[in-house]
Amino acid sequence: MFAYLWPIALVMIANIIYQVSAKELPVDMDAFASLTICYGIATVMTLVFFFIFSGGGLSGLMEEYAKINWAVIVLGITAVGLEVGYVFAYKNGWEVSLLYVIQSAIMAVMLLFVGYLLYSEGITWNKFAGIAVCLAGLIMINKKGGSE
């Protein structure tokens, strides 16, 4: 049971700290400069994790690098887009309580179309209903007023 639960708990805690950290980046610091620090740390950490968990040493690492394809590299570019988007969203006044849920709802809807167009996944009635409910939620969030 523990083996099943801890990874998802880690994802939840990491997600929460991620949003708070993205909001707490110094306002007067250049966003790209702060992200170079962030990715420098991430590169070193994954390298350390590789040597600890995967073993094989430097030659093992080179063997793994030989298996590289385009996705590994493009993933790095998309990660930058993601983080830059979050950093600027918070710089431009987005609220912590809204940004995550709004992007999650839009993402779920967009991924349905990606699944349909790229992977021939079916769009069923419940998916249409889910899209409608998500859109209603987004409209409600952006509606002015409502008691506190």
Partner: protein, 144 residues
Amino acid sequence: MIKRIWPVALVVGSNIFYHICAKEIPSDMDAFASLTITYAVAFVATLICYFIFKKASGSEGFTKECRKANWAPFALGVIIVGLEFGWIMAYKAGWQVSMGYIIVTSVVSAVLLGVGCFVYKEKITLNKVIGIALCLAGLIIINI
């Protein structure tokens, strides 16, 4: 208005390509080895972006900018790895993509509502609470 919309559009667009790329990573390649390349690419890409946009952003020079760093950029680097590692281990432990995503989104949204309210003094209106509940209900219905 555009100032508020473009970062979210960038997050959503990047997130979609992120999922497509994550699905296409060679399955026989070690996850940490592939992530070292991914983050190294991200490091170089942000460095290039820094030099392209440094005039527009009014940068005082790379070293001076780095001296302004507080705990957040360092924490963000560690947390990004924690996130990736958590997802990899969750899938290895047998979590389904849709179920894992719903549970994470629901719990994280609820906690962030509290963080926004108590830490950042954000207003929690009835419209906001109903809207968040509807978004989460929509996510559940999509993934039934």
